[in-house]
Amino acid sequence: MNAASTAPFVTDAAAVIGFDGWIAHFRGLQHRHQHENQSLSARLAEAATRFVVAESIGNLEPDTHQIEDFREILATIDRSIDASIDTLALPSCLQGFLGDLTAVAPSVSAVIVEPAPTVADESDSDLGVFSADPEMLSLFVQEANEHLESAEPFLLQLESTPGDMQALDAVFRAFHSVKGTAGFMQLEAIGKVAHEAESLLDLAREGKVQLAGVVMDLVLQTLDHLKFMIDQLQSAPAMALKMAPGTQELIQRLKNAVNGSTVQPESAVPSQPSTAETAGREDAHPALGTASASTSDFLKVDRTRLDQLINLIGELVIADSMLQSALAHQTGEQGLRTASHVRKITRELQGLSLSLRMVPIQGLFQKMSRLVRDLSRKLNKPVDLETSGGETELDKSIIDQVADPLMHLLRNSLDHGIEPCAADRVRAGKSERATVKLQAYHQGGCIYIEIIDDGRGLNREKIVARALERGLIETAEGMTPAQIDQLIFAPGFSTAEKVTDVSGRGVGMDVVRRNIEALRGSVDLHSEPGQGTRVVLRLPLTLAIIEGMVVRVGTERFIIPTLNIREQIRPREQDLATVGKGGQLLAVRGQNIPYFHLSRLVKVNGAVADPCGGIIVVLDPNGDQFGLLVDDVLGQQQVVIKRLGENLEQLPGIAGGAVMPDGKVGLILDVRSIKELATREPGLA
């Protein structure tokens, strides 16, 4: 029993997590105690659970006396967590308290999903709270979510092309399947919501209801609510006990929508449920069969196992190249042929292992379509979202982490970019409906995601005014439009006149840029006044691998991420200059850029001292150029990034390590912080 962690939970539970979470917690407590054969504590937890359940569904209006008792029981539970349970005395009120609860028992069990045991039977602590086979439950959750997710794009499609029967059928099928399986699993609340939505969709199929405006909003809300309820099933299984907040209201609104639009509400509605109900149960499996056919080709795999596999394959590749170089000198033709065969298989295996984590970006785009749709209604700006390149594949963890920045950028586009009223657009010679394009494509080992709107573009005057006001710049004189645009990435910059819940919370583009850079990507922005804005995100294909330039300094090798490298120069005497004490400059096509000796930054002995004897690698993190003097550039290579381990995290200048083909570890330079290191101690370089 994890006593320490549960104790504060009990006392603070009501305030922090509300009743639903509380019930789940007590259920857990109860199970754990039962397992340890702590019957007393289990009974305490049971009493508390019952009380909370009865109270939260409104079957129990506790009087002060009962609340006092409940407090004492909670206090006992708290003590039982702190002390050995066996030494505790049963609170005297427990018996009476349970007796009181028995009075509300029938109604408690009425909302319980499974046929509940009689509450009077106290030795049987199974409250009858939803306790389906966890495997079945997780299967249900997965399937239902797939159905609902598949319905969403069709709904959005229906909004742009009303009357698309195929899309409508697909949406209907999704709700129907959810209803069917929910019925099968005896999840009545979910079944009910899905059923009402299905009735409404059925009317839409008959042409009696137009799926647009408020009706569409309602259907989408229902979709969200169902997702929420289904998620709750896993996070707090006790939720199945009762309707989630707002469920009843939603059902009522769905009913109203059905009634309000039907010619004969009396006959249409009641007949609907009875047929659909039975049909739903019988159809459950066939419906599932067809709908899940498209997803059955996927297999869910534990993330850590996948990482282990990828790691091992990485090792195999290294071992293979060591073996190859060892064999090269001494094996006969047969041996060489086998070796090259092994090599081929290893390479293929490596390619495959890297693709395991890749998923198409389509799912993310779908979420964004929904966001744009909701925002456009909220802001009352008609916007069409066009997406392309959804099939582009990206590392799953990058997709997860790029969602927030992308959402922020789209919000910005809609809130600031698109003209507030359509008349302005017409006056500017644009169509009334604004267009936002979201495209992804693959180029040169990177993934690009572009967000293009045809709004009014960045307001540079306002940006300059704001930057001056914030003290970000002293004067805008001599700044190019592009440089002005860059100002919006400065921390704390926000041009929104008022803080809205759409965008403009002061954490704006700087956070977007930081998040993208944390993924080792970059953000680029182009804006044309009156024409629109284009934001380009450049992201690596995967977080695990980088393309790196291997350089030598003295006896050591380092890897510089190719993404940051602009060029390599073998300097000539006349291009070099010294400024003051220690400041060194290299002239590149008329421009003077500072450079540093890498050997001095990383404290390596035996490196070349004369810049003319080495190579200067020109880097440009954040568009800010500087050079690093190295002895030699050994070549370009893909490496798998690894952490250096405890005590060696966050060292300035070092981003991580990689296993080199010879089995040794090579260090990957963090170009951004190595520059900090250099600028902080100019004497060093």
Binding site: N311, L312, G314, E315, I318, E556, L601, V602, K603, V604, K642, R643, L644, G645, E646, N647, L648, L651, P652, G653, I654, G657, V659, G663, K664, V665, G666, L667
Partner: protein, 173 residues
């Protein structure tokens, strides 16, 4: 069960320290670490020095695809260097903290043996007063004529110990 005599650190005093220890030699002194924390013993391999790392971290190595730091315990304990020979090796230890396992290599001159040390034979690290910190020691074990310094790897690996000069003094005592 008997309890080790009172040590400056109360949490160590109450812990039952008896059990199996892997003992090894560094600069002529014998040290021991709990065998359960030892993952494997590997031969010396080329290390990559890490700029900016603490002085006693000699570098990082590739342990079957995983990069782990290697500590020179000698450096940490201010012991003198001994000439390299083929018995030098790296003891890889593994510790868990917050559910995460941390691996680290320790350079040693030679591995001696696995010893079963009784709780009664372990004395708490002597109190050297304020000047010497003994927090990275589990205790001093007496086995026959030998004295073995038992290391508290948690303290060493997670770097909460400050001064390891205590060890030298303990060994001399």
């Amino acid at each position: 069960m008997s309890v080790a005599p009172v040590a400056p650190d109360a949490s160590l005093a109450t812990a039952a320290l008896g059990g199996k220890y892997l003992t090894f030699r560094i600069a002529g002194d014998q040290f021991g670490v709990p065998i359960l924390q030892v993952r494997e013993i590997i031969g010396l391999m080329p290390m990559t020095p890490v700029p900016g790392a603490p002085d006693d971290i000699k570098g990082v190595i590739n342990l079957r695809g995983k990069i782990i730091p290697v500590m020179d315990v000698r450096e940490r304990f201010h012991l003198e260097t001994t000439a390299a020979n083929d018995r030098n090796c790296i003891v890889v230890v593994e510790l868990t903290s917050d559910g995460r396992s941390v691996e680290m290599g320790m350079l040693v001159d030679a591995v001696s043996e696995v010893l079963n040390i009784k709780n009664d034979d372990i004395a708490p690290p002597p109190d050297f007063g304020m000047k010497l910190d003994t927090s990275c020691l589990l205790g001093i074990a007496k086995t026959g004529k030998d004295v073995k310094v038992l290391l508290d790897l948690e303290q060493i690996v997670f770097r909460s110990a400050s001064d390891l000069a205590a060890v030298e003094a303990a060994v001399e005592a």
